[in-house]
Symmetry: C2
Subunit: 473 residues, 2 copies
């Protein structure tokens, strides 16, 4: 397994392959949250419907003086401080997000403006960088794009920063309300991966034009969602990406499953894009059903939950949306075979997301942080597939390896501590924040250093939309 | 010069370097245009103020049944048809644009939907890809990002498509009205560059947080512009990027100017991001003043136009905005030294842009097409710097080489023909189109095959914002 990392023969000569990947990580989520059980009660629902049915116990919301740009800058600043990174060692800064603040301008411009308040004017004037979007999968796309620069030896300095940031925000009282959330992840990418190393070529993609699942047509600030279609699309594209991943990995000869095995048996950890826990469970269950149904072990599953319903005449999307399959999948999700497999391969990556809520493009990195902070096993040498997904719709499954010595860097992660020290807001306070009734400057600042939004230029003035930020004291 | 392309020693062994770059190109611009002299008259202005002062003779506008997504798909389709490219040979499709149609969804999803109408459902289901934004510079950023995949040998198939697309649209009667435009460029990127080959490392970037120059805050469909600031920012960042470019190229030992030379003397062609011709002339004049003022030849310039005004106490941006410098720059722009240099190094890249108008992220590729179609010299072996710029603000200067045999592929370019066969709309017709008074389906279709917008889902219905497209017969 490890030998395959040492030399990349595809280049035509035995050349040591750069250990491209994540050298350091910092995930930030704001310091106030909504308790989803309390929200359920306020909405006249059974609390378990939100905390277990949906699978989000609590979700972060940005206070009135933070937004997607300030969150990205805060994550970058804390990453750089904790890992002693100087701006002069960074050659590019990119901001994948689906919460862009302007139709033309890139969010990264505001972020660079904030960082230069700390590191000095012009300290990042040499960087490349822009903003990227494909619903929730842009963070994964950017991870690969940035990695390619190092694998190509095109990086002009030692590091690149990826600053994924998103705020998931839906209407008050909508069915999506319990799936909100907010986070930013700063990834330090380089050629000496210390947390997660990309395995080049071990990659599967799936992309399908789907217009109705999730959208935010120009002019809208809140997304429109078709829940059932969105769900089925996620399951379907994730499976397609898995099939393409399998095919790449087979061709590379990396994994050769025996007749009674699935390639999944060789995956140590899987980190899913996590809109809410139930969706991840459903997608993984769906994948296991697909992978196991032709293996000897399926007989045991059938003994416990009966045979799979017929899918005669249905394509994937229709089948995944059918009542009969949904019922069957639910039965499978409760079976001992599923539970054990799911817990060991995915469990540790779910602990932070169910406290952060949906964080869109950041979600897969929230899951990565969760794995690194919470997994009880020694992860060195283990492989990790990142399973990204974005509505519209596009899935990516991509294999990485956790390097020896990862713990030295992983111990600087602080998301679980940060989530534990948040303040709970009342439902009334949450609603006032959601409606924009509290101005940035009237919000009290009590927490670790971070960037704060001070004002937004008013409509129909020359400074319309201009955002002023400062570092908190 | 050519030897330096054969082997890339930075990789640690003498390995033939992939000839990464553009293998084929197709630039599309809609088939109707506004005559800027007529627009000037309608606005009570001297026609020369628009056609020469601004420097745009005509600008394309999308008819009611085309938009940024359909234009990108049309460009891709025509590129693929003319160069016999199959979707199965493409591993990624990206859409840099600042005219995104949705805050979450990526434009590439709609484009893939259109292309699969022609090439079959699922024919592009394997691709990677997303949408990218940094005002007008995202096309350049994407060109480099995509190139890195090939240089890294990470491409899983032979080609990648970059589909830059933009519509520059301003309010009727605004001062920006004569600088509108519309185009899409399809770039086929690969490891066997036939039109333009990237010279790795010969690259300079400049990025500065600037909030007021150009913006389209969420909810706006028309940009807000501070003309003077935008102008100065363009000049200033382009110079910064040039300084960083010089430093990279010096370190690589690629160009070693003698004491009485500027590095610019070694650049065969420069293609500028082109919002309008006057801006390009001003930026290039500003760069020449900077480069020449310390050389012996400056004496001759001073003999013709006098000494440069004092810049005591002014930073670049202030100096570039000052009346005294602006006047001096104008004098220099009329001098014989400037005119000759400008014409030979930049002239041929300006012919298409002054007929297309501003095309934002596409503009530099419109310039490239213009160079390849119009330059009278044999360009094989010549170096070309692409000079990208995006408000907010960010410039990139990056060196390429035109490969031997480029003419075989260049002869498939058709932008000049396309521009020559457009229909002129009257000012009245233009205004009705601009105000959205003509529905997609009532617009007559007479031209080569292209993708057409059929309808847009209405506000507050489940299909809000959904766009239906078909290929014209």
């Amino acid at each position: 397994m490890k030998n395959r990392l040492i030399v990349d023969r595809r280049r035509g000569c035995d050349l040591p392959m750069a250990r491209v990947g994540i050298e350091a990580l910092y995930v930030y989520s704001p310091n106030i949250y909504v308790d989803n059980a309390e929200l359920a009660v306020a909405r006249g629902k059974d609390p378990k419907h939100f905390t277990e049915g949906v699978g989000i116990k609590a979700f972060s919301i940005p206070p009135p003086n933070e937004d997607q740009a300030s969150m990205a800058a805060t994550a970058a600043y804390r990453l750089m401080e904790r890992n002693s990174i100087s701006p002069r060692d960074v050659f590019r800064v990119d901001t994948p997000t689906e919460s862009g603040l302007d139709g033309s301008r890139a969010l990264v411009s505001d972020v660079v403006g904030m960082l230069e308040q700390v590191y000095g004017r012009g300290s990042l004037s040499h960087v490349l960088g822009y903003e990227q979007k494909f619903a929730c999968v842009s963070g994964m796309e950017r991870y690969l794009d940035t990695g390619a620069w190092f694998a190509a030896n095109w990086n002009t300095r030692r590091y690149a920063l990826i600053l994924a940031t998103d705020v998931a925000r839906y209407n008050l009282n909508s069915s999506e309300e319990p799936t909100q959330g907010a986070a930013a992840a700063a990834l330090l990418v380089g050629g000496d991966a210390k947390l997660l190393q990309i395995l080049p070529g071990a990659l599967g993609s799936a992309l399908r034009h789907e217009k109705g699942d999730f959208k935010k047509p120009s002019g809208r600030t809140v997304a429109l969602v078709d829940g059932a279609l969105s769900y089925a699309s996620y399951l379907s594209e994730m499976k397609e990406a898995w099939l393409n991943f399998q095919s790449s990995v087979s061709q590379m000869g990396l994994i050769k499953p025996k007749a009674d095995q699935s390639m999944l048996d060789y995956i140590d950890r899987a980190i899913y894009h996590n809109p809410h826990k139930k969706m991840v469970i459903s997608a993984y269950a769906s994948l296991l059903i697909h992978e196991w149904r032709s293996l000897p072990r399926w007989k045991q599953v059938e003994d416990e939950i009966g045979p799979e319903p017929s899918r005669a005449g249905m394509d994937d999307l229709t089948y995944y949306m059918s009542d009969s399959y949904r019922d069957y999948r639910r039965k499978f999700m409760k079976s001992q075979y599923f539970t054990k497999d799911f817990e060991s391969r995915i469990g540790s990556s779910l602990l932070a997301p169910e406290l952060v809520g949906n964080s869109y493009s950041v979600s897969v990195f929230v899951g990565l942080d969760s794995l690194l902070e919470n997994d009880k096993e020694d992860l060195a040498g283990k492989n990790v597939v990142l399973c990204g997904y974005g509505s519209g719709s596009h899935a990516i499954i991509q294999e990485n390896v956790i390097p020896e010595g990862y713990r030295d860097v992983a111990k600087k992660l602080d998301l679980m501590g940060l989530l534990g020290s948040r303040r709970k807001v009342t439902i009334d306070e949450y609603e006032r924040i959601h409606r924009g009734e509290i101005s940035p400057n009237s919000w009290d600042v009590k927490s670790e250093t971070r960037f704060l939004l001070r004002s937004v230029g008013e409509l129909e003035t020359p400074s319309e939309g201009d955002r002023q930020y400062t570092l908190s004291e």
